[in-house]
C-alpha cells in the first residue's frame, strides 16, 4: 500500500463532471474537412511529406518529425489534401499556423498497417521508434512527445512509473470514461511502458471522485503488479509535479524533470495510444474529448478524429450559441478561450467547454489586493502570489525571480481564491514573458555592443593605417625633394614629386570611388590596360629614377668604404639590387621598343614572365573588352535615361512657367532621346556577340542589379510625371516632418545639433515647395 501525501494548498471548485458522464463514448464521425496543424505538440513543428492534391489514406503519415523533440502527423481518415496553409489553431492567441487540410472521401480507407504481436521480442529502440512514428504526444494537455520521455532516461535509472488518471480539472471526464470503458487497453499500454523503462513500481493515480474508474482499473490490473492508488480529490493534484509529490513524497527540483528523481509520468490516454500503436500499428489519429458546459444541450464524450473542427462537435451536442460568451478548450482552470469555432481538435484537446453566462460569468473589475493571503493558502507550490502580484505590477523583475515566479505552474488556484477577483495568473504570464524578453534583449544588446565596438575599432584602425600611409608618402616626397636638391634638374623633379603626391592624395580623397574602381577592375578580371605609350613612358621614368638611385647608392657606398663604415655590406647589396632592377627595367624597355617587330630577347626569366603575362592578357582582352563594352553601354544607357528624365522634367517646368528656354529644352530632350536610342541599338548589336561565351551579363551580379534597377526605373518612368511628383512630395513631406520633430526635440533639450537640423529643415522645405510647384504646374498642364 502506498502512503498518500498531501500537497500544499489546493482548492475544491465545483466538479461538474456528472453532466458529461451520462452516456458512453460515441464516435463523432468523419467531418467533411479535417484541419491538421503541423505543431500539435511541444517542440519543432512537423514537416509535410504530402503535397496538395495527393490522396491520403487513414493512418498515412502526412508530416514527419523535425528534430528530436517533435512528433509526426497522420491522416485521420482517407481523403485528398486540398491545401497546406496557415489556419487558426487552438492557441490562446487565436493566431494562425501552418496546417494540412484534408477533404475526407467518406471511405475511411486504412493504410496498410500491422501491429507487433509480441513486443517483448522486439528491440527496445525499435519499440520507442514505433511510438515516435505513431506521433504520440502527451495527451493530458502539455503535448510533450512521449518517445522523448521514454528514450531520455537511459543514464538515469527510473524507480517509479506513474500513470496520471487524476483528471483534477472540473468538467473534464475524458480520462474518467476512458478508464471506465478501456481499462484493459490502458493496462496493456502500461505493460509496454513497464517493459521499456523497467521501473521498480508502477502506480496509477486516480482521484477518489471516480469510483467506477478505480474499480474498472483495479479489475484490469489484477495480477499485473500495477498499483491503482486513489487519493482525495483536490485541484490541482493532477499536475505532474503535484501527483509525484502525492504518490512518492518526492519533489521534482526546480527547473528539472521528473526523471531527475527517478520518475517517469505519463497520462493514461497516452498509455492507451501507445497500446494502439504497438499492438495494432495504429498511429495517433483520434482521441476522447469531452464536450460539456450548460450551453451544450447534450454534454458527453466523443471519440474524435484529430483535425475535426470544434464547430462539428458543437453541432452534435446541441450547442446554444446565444447563451455562450466564452468557449474554452480544456478545463475552466487552465483551458484557454477560443475565438473561432473552426479550430480543430488536436492531440492535447481533452475538453471543449461551452459554459453559459451564468455558469462562468465574465470577471468583474478587480478590487484592491488586501494581501489576505488566500492565494498563498491555496498555492500548490507554496509561492506568495500576493507578493508576486505587487512585484509584477511594479515591474520588479529581480524580486519576481527571487520569489520563484518561474516555479508557478499557472494552475489558477490563486485567481480562483482571490476575493478581489484579481487575474493573478495573467499577471504572472505577462511577467514571465517580460522577463524572458528582457533576457533576450539583454543578450541582443550585448551582441550589438560587441558589433558596434568591433566596427569602431575597425574604422579607427583603417583611419590609422591611412594616416600612416599618408605620412610615409610625405616622408618619401621629402626625401625625394632633398635628393632633387642635389640632382641636376632640381626644379622639375620637385614639381613632379609634388604633382605625383598630390595626384595620389586626390585619388585617396575619395576612398569609396577608388575602392569602387578597384572592385570593378577586380571583377572585370583585368587590370586597366595600359597603352603602349603609357607603358613606355612609365618605364623610361622608372629607368631614369633607378639610374639616379644607383648613382646615389654607389656614391654612398664609396663614402662608406672610405669611412670603413659597418653598413658597407648593406650598401653593397643595395647597389647590387638597384643595378639589377635597372637592368631589368632597361631590358623591359628595350623589349617594349622592339615589340612592334614581335621579337623579344627572352634570355631574362623576368622578361619572359612579363612576356607570358602580356601574351595571356592580350589573348583574353578581346572577349573581356566586349563584356566591358556592354557594361559601359548599359551604364551609359542608364545615365542617359536619367538625363532624359531630368530633361523632360525641366521641359515640363519650363513649359508650365512659359519659359523662353522651353524650346531649347525640347531640343535637348529630342537629342537625348536620339542618343539613348543609338546606345540601345549598339547594346542590342553587342549582346548577341557577348552572349556566346558564357552570357556574362547574367553571370555578373552587379549587372543583374543594374538591370533590376533599370527595370524599376523603367517602371517608375511608366508612372505619369504627376504620380512621380506626388510620390516625391509625399516622401519629402515625411522627411520634413521627421526633421521638424527632431529639431523640436533638439531645441527643447538645447542640443548643439539644433542649428544643423534647422538649416537642413529649411533646405528640405525649399525642396518641398519646389516639388509642390512642379506638381501644381503638372496638374495645370494636364487640365
Amino acid at each position: 500500500m502506498i502512503q498518500i501525501r498531501d500537497i500544499h494548498g489546493g482548492i475544491h471548485p465545483p466538479e461538474n463532471k456528472l453532466q458529461s458522464l451520462g452516456e458512453p463514448i460515441r464516435p463523432a464521425g468523419i467531418p467533411a474537412q479535417l484541419i491538421l496543424p503541423l505543431s500539435q505538440h511541444i517542440g519543432a513543428p512537423a514537416a509535410p511529406v504530402v503535397s496538395v492534391g495527393d490522396r491520403v489514406l487513414k493512418g498515412q503519415k502526412i508530416a514527419e518529425a523535425k528534430g528530436f523533440v517533435s512528433a509526426p502527423v497522420h491522416a485521420p481518415t482517407s481523403g485528398t489534401v486540398v491545401a497546406i496553409e496557415p489556419r487558426v489553431i487552438p492557441h490562446p492567441s487565436g493566431m494562425s499556423a501552418p496546417c494540412i487540410i484534408i477533404n475526407s472521401d467518406g471511405q475511411d480507407e486504412w493504410v496498410n498497417h500491422q501491429g507487433i504481436s509480441d513486443y517483448t521480442a522486439v528491440d527496445k529502440n525499435t519499440l520507442i521508434s514505433t511510438i515516435r512514428e505513431a506521433g504520440i504526444a502527451g495527451m493530458g494537455g502539455a503535448g510533450f512527445p512521449s518517445a522523448v520521455k521514454l528514450s531520455g532516461g537511459q543514464d538515469k535509472p527510473i524507480q517509479t512509473l506513474i500513470l496520471n488518471g487524476t483528471e483534477c480539472e472540473p468538467y473534464i471526464t475524458a480520462d474518467d470514461i476512458l478508464m471506465r470503458e478501456r481499462a484493459g487497453q490502458i493496462i496493456a499500454g502500461a505493460e509496454i511502458l513497464r517493459h521499456l523503462i523497467e521501473p521498480q513500481e508502477t502506480l496509477i493515480g486516480i482521484e477518489d471522485n471516480k469510483p467506477e474508474a478505480i474499480a474498472a482499473m483495479r479489475a484490469a490490473a489484477e495480477g499485473t503488479g500495477i498499483e491503482i492508488v486513489s487519493f482525495p480529490t483536490k485541484y490541482p493534484s493532477g499536475g505532474e509535479k503535484q501527483l509525484i509529490q502525492i504518490l512518492t513524497g518526492k519533489e521534482v527540483p526546480s527547473g528539472g524533470l521528473p526523471s531527475d528523481v527517478g520518475i517517469v509520468c505519463q497520462n493514461i490516454g497516452t498509455a492507451q495510444a501507445i497500446y494502439r500503436a504497438v499492438n495494432h500499428g495504429e498511429p495517433l489519429i483520434s482521441r476522447v474529448t469531452t464536450v460539456t458546459g450548460n450551453a451544450c444541450g447534450s454534454p458527453r464524450n466523443y471519440e474524435v478524429l484529430l483535425g475535426t473542427p470544434v464547430q462539428y462537435l458543437l453541432d452534435q451536442s446541441a450547442f446554444n450559441a446565444s447563451d455562450c460568451i466564452r468557449l474554452i478548450m480544456g478545463g475552466p482552470m487552465m483551458g484557454y478561450t477560443l475565438q473561432d469555432t473552426a479550430v480543430p481538435v488536436v492531440k492535447t484537446t481533452n475538453c471543449i467547454l461551452a459554459p453559459t453566462v451564468e455558469e462562468l460569468p465574465p470577471p468583474p473589475p478587480a478590487q484592491a489586493c488586501i494581501r489576505c493571503g488566500m492565494c498563498a493558502e491555496v498555492c500548490p507550490v507554496s509561492l506568495l502570489p500576493q507578493q508576486m502580484y505587487w512585484f509584477s505590477r511594479a515591474q520588479e523583475h529581480d524580486k519576481l525571480e527571487e520569489h520563484n515566479l518561474f516555479d508557478c505552474i499557472e494552475c489558477g488556484a490563486c485567481s480562483y481564491a482571490c476575493p478581489s477577483h484579481i487575474p493573478l495568473v495573467q499577471y504572472y504570464r505577462a511577467s514571465k514573458a517580460e522577463i524572458r524578453q528582457a533576457q533576450q534583449d539583454k543578450i541582443k544588446a550585448e551582441r550589438s555592443k560587441e558589433r558596434f565596438e568591433a566596427r569602431q575599432a575597425r574604422i579607427e584602425r583603417e583611419a590609422a593605417e591611412k594616416e600612416a600611409k599618408r605620412k610615409a608618402r610625405l616622408e618619401a616626397a621629402k626625401a625625394r625633394q632633398a635628393e632633387a636638391v642635389k640632382g641636376d634638374s632640381k626644379q622639375d623633379i620637385i614639381q613632379a614629386a609634388i604633382a605625383r603626391s598630390q595626384a595620389k592624395k586626390s585619388g585617396d580623397a575619395d576612398p569609396a570611388q577608388a575602392a569602387i574602381a578597384r572592385a570593378q577592375a577586380a571583377r572585370n578580371g583585368t587590370a586597366v590596360e595600359e597603352t603602349r605609350e603609357e607603358k613606355q613612358q612609365r618605364l623610361e621614368k622608372l629607368l631614369a629614377s633607378t639610374t639616379k638611385r644607383l648613382a646615389a647608392a654607389q656614391e654612398k657606398l664609396a663614402q662608406a668604404e672610405g669611412n670603413n663604415d659597418d653598413n658597407i655590406a648593406a650598401f653593397r647589396t643595395a647597389v647590387e639590387k638597384t643595378s639589377a632592377k635597372l637592368a631589368a627595367t632597361q631590358k623591359e624597355l628595350d623589349e617594349l621598343k622592339s615589340s612592334t617587330d614581335g621579337a623579344a630577347p627572352t634570355d631574362d626569366p623576368a622578361a619572359a614572365a612579363i612576356a607570358r603575362a602580356q601574351a595571356k592578357r592580350s589573348g583574353q582582352a578581346p572577349a573581356e573588352s566586349e563584356q566591358e563594352k556592354t557594361q559601359r553601354i548599359t551604364a551609359q544607357i542608364a545615365s542617359t535615361e536619367k538625363r532624359l528624365a531630368a530633361a523632360q522634367d525641366k521641359l515640363a517646368t519650363a513649359k508650365a512657367n512659359g519659359d523662353d528656354k522651353a524650346d531649347a529644352f525640347a531640343t535637348a530632350v529630342t537629342k537625348t532621346q536620339e542618343k539613348l536610342d543609338a546606345l540601345r541599338a549598339e547594346l542590342a548589336a553587342i549582346t548577341p556577340t557577348t552572349a556566346t561565351p558564357a552570357t556574362p551579363v547574367e553571370d555578373d551580379p552587379a549587372a543583374q542589379a543594374i538591370a533590376r534597377a533599370m527595370a524599376a526605373r523603367a517602371e517608375s518612368a511608366g508612372m505619369s510625371e504627376r504620380e512621380k511628383a506626388e510620390k516625391n512630395i509625399a516622401s519629402l513631406q515625411a522627411r520634413v516632418e521627421k526633421t521638424a520633430a527632431k529639431l523640436r526635440a533638439a531645441q527643447e533639450s538645447g542640443d548643439d545639433n539644433a542649428e544643423i537640423l534647422a538649416t537642413s529643415l529649411d533646405k528640405m522645405r525649399d525642396k518641398l515647395t519646389a516639388a509642390e510647384q512642379a506638381l501644381a504646374a503638372l496638374r495645370e498642364e494636364e487640365n
Partner: protein
C-alpha cells in the same frame, strides 16, 4: 459570434472582498452587544458617528483621487475601519475626537499611502495611537460598567448621543472609572486579591464587563476562523505568547505581579486585537510562518507595555511596532517553494 478572449482560470471561487468585509463587520456583533450591555449605548453611538465620518471621508478621498465612487465604497473597507476605531474608543467619545480619528485613519493612513491594500499601518490603530497621544484625557475617560454602578447610571441612546456631542444631559450624569488595567498598573502596595476586593471594577476573571466583551470578540473571531476569512496563525500565536509570558511573570498575586494569564487574555483589547487587528492582512506579515512570528512578538509586546510601559493597554502600540517589522519578517519567512532546497542550504550553496 464573438467569444471573449480571457486568460485562465475561468472559474472563480465564492469569496469576494466586500463579502470578507461584511463578515468581519458581522463578527464584531457579539463584542459590541456585550460592550453595550455593560457600558451602555456609548459604543453604538461611536459606531454611528465613525461610520458616517468614514463614508464621508472615503468618498472625499476617492473623489480627490478620481476613483470610481460606488465601486470602492461598496467594498465596505471604510466601514471596517470605522467599526474598529469606534470599538477601541471610550464609549460615547466626543464627536470631534471621532472625526479627527477617522479623518486621520482614512485620509492620512489609507489614501495618502495609495488606498486600500497599500497602507503599511493599520489605519484604525494608527488613528487610535494618534488620539491617545494627543488627547490622553478624553481617551482614558472610560464609563463605569454595569455592576459597578446601577443600571440607571448607564447611558441610554439619547444620553450617549448628547454626551458625544458635548451637551450635558439632565437625567444622566456620566460616571467614569479607571479600567482594571489602570488599577493594576497603579497598584504597588496591595496584593492582587486585596485589590480585587477593594475595587468594584473587577469581575470573575478580569475586569467587570471587560471579560465578557473579550469573550464576545473571541466568539466573533472563532466565527471568522470558521469562515476561513483568515488563518489561525497570527491570533493563536499572539494569545499563546501573551499567555506564556504572563504565566512566566505571574507570581501568584503579589503587589508587584502583572496579573494572571487569564486576566491578561480577558482584559483590555486582547481578544479584539487578536482577532480583528492582528489579523488585518494588509499590514501584517504575509506567509503563515511570518504571521506566527508576527503574532508572537505582538503578544510579548502587549504584556511588556502593559506591565512595564507607560500605558495601561498596548495592543495598538504593539501592532504598529510590528507593522514596521512586517516587510522584514516577510523577507526572512518566504516559504520554501516546491522543488527548492530549504533556504539556508540555498544560501550556502
Amino acid at each position: 459570434m464573438a467569444f471573449l478572449k480571457l486568460s485562465s482560470p475561468h472559474a472563480h471561487g465564492p469569496m469576494s472582498t466586500p463579502r470578507v468585509m461584511r463578515l468581519v463587520l458581522l463578527a464584531t456583533l457579539p463584542g459590541i452587544v456585550s460592550l453595550t450591555w455593560f457600558f451602555g449605548f456609548g459604543t453604538l453611538v461611536n459606531i454611528l458617528w465613525a461610520s458616517l465620518f468614514a463614508l464621508a471621508f472615503e468618498a472625499l478621498a476617492l473623489k480627490l483621487r478620481r476613483r470610481p465612487l460606488a465601486f470602492y465604497l461598496s467594498d465596505c473597507s471604510a466601514l471596517v475601519t470605522a467599526f474598529l476605531l469606534a470599538i477601541a474608543l471610550p464609549p460615547a467619545a466626543p464627536v470631534w475626537l471621532i472625526a479627527v480619528g477617522i479623518g486621520f485613519a482614512i485620509l492620512i493612513c489609507k489614501h495618502m499611502y495609495g488606498g486600500m491594500g497599500y497602507n503599511p499601518f493599520n489605519p484604525a490603530m494608527a488613528a487610535y495611537v494618534l488620539l491617545l497621544i494627543s488627547f490622553p484625557v478624553d481617551m482614558t475617560n472610560w464609563l463605569a460598567p454595569r455592576g459597578a454602578i446601577s443600571v440607571a447610571e448607564l447611558p441610554g441612546p439619547i444620553d450617549a448621543l448628547l454626551r458625544s456631542l458635548g451637551a450635558a444631559s439632565t437625567q444622566f450624569d456620566a460616571v467614569t472609572m479607571a479600567t482594571p488595567l489602570d488599577l493594576l498598573k497603579q497598584n504597588d502596595a496591595l496584593l492582587l486579591d486585596d485589590l480585587w476586593a477593594q475595587s468594584p471594577q473587577f469581575g470573575q476573571f478580569a475586569g467587570l464587563g471587560w471579560e465578557w466583551a473579550n469573550v464576545g470578540f473571541l466568539l466573533g473571531g472563532l466565527y471568522l476562523l470558521y469562515r476561513r476569512v483568515f488563518t489561525w496563525h497570527a491570533p493563536v500565536s499572539m494569545l499563546a505568547s501573551l499567555t506564556v509570558i504572563a504565566a512566566l511573570f505571574y507570581d501568584g498575586g503579589s503587589s508587584a505581579s502583572g496579573g494572571s494569564p487569564l486576566f491578561h487574555l480577558l482584559s483590555g483589547a486582547t481578544m479584539f486585537g487578536a482577532f480583528f487587528i492582528v489579523t488585518d492582512p494588509v499590514t501584517s506579515a504575509v506567509s503563515n510562518r511570518g504571521r506566527v512570528f508576527y503574532g508572537a512578538v505582538i503578544g510579548i509586546l502587549v504584556y511588556t507595555i502593559r506591565s512595564w510601559g507607560n500605558y495601561p493597554d498596548a495592543v495598538a502600540f504593539a501592532v504598529l511596532l510590528m507593522n514596521f517589522a512586517a516587510p522584514f519578517i516577510d523577507h526572512y519567512t518566504q516559504p520554501r517553494t516546491y522543488g527548492h532546497k530549504p533556504r539556508q542550504n540555498r544560501e550556502k550553496s
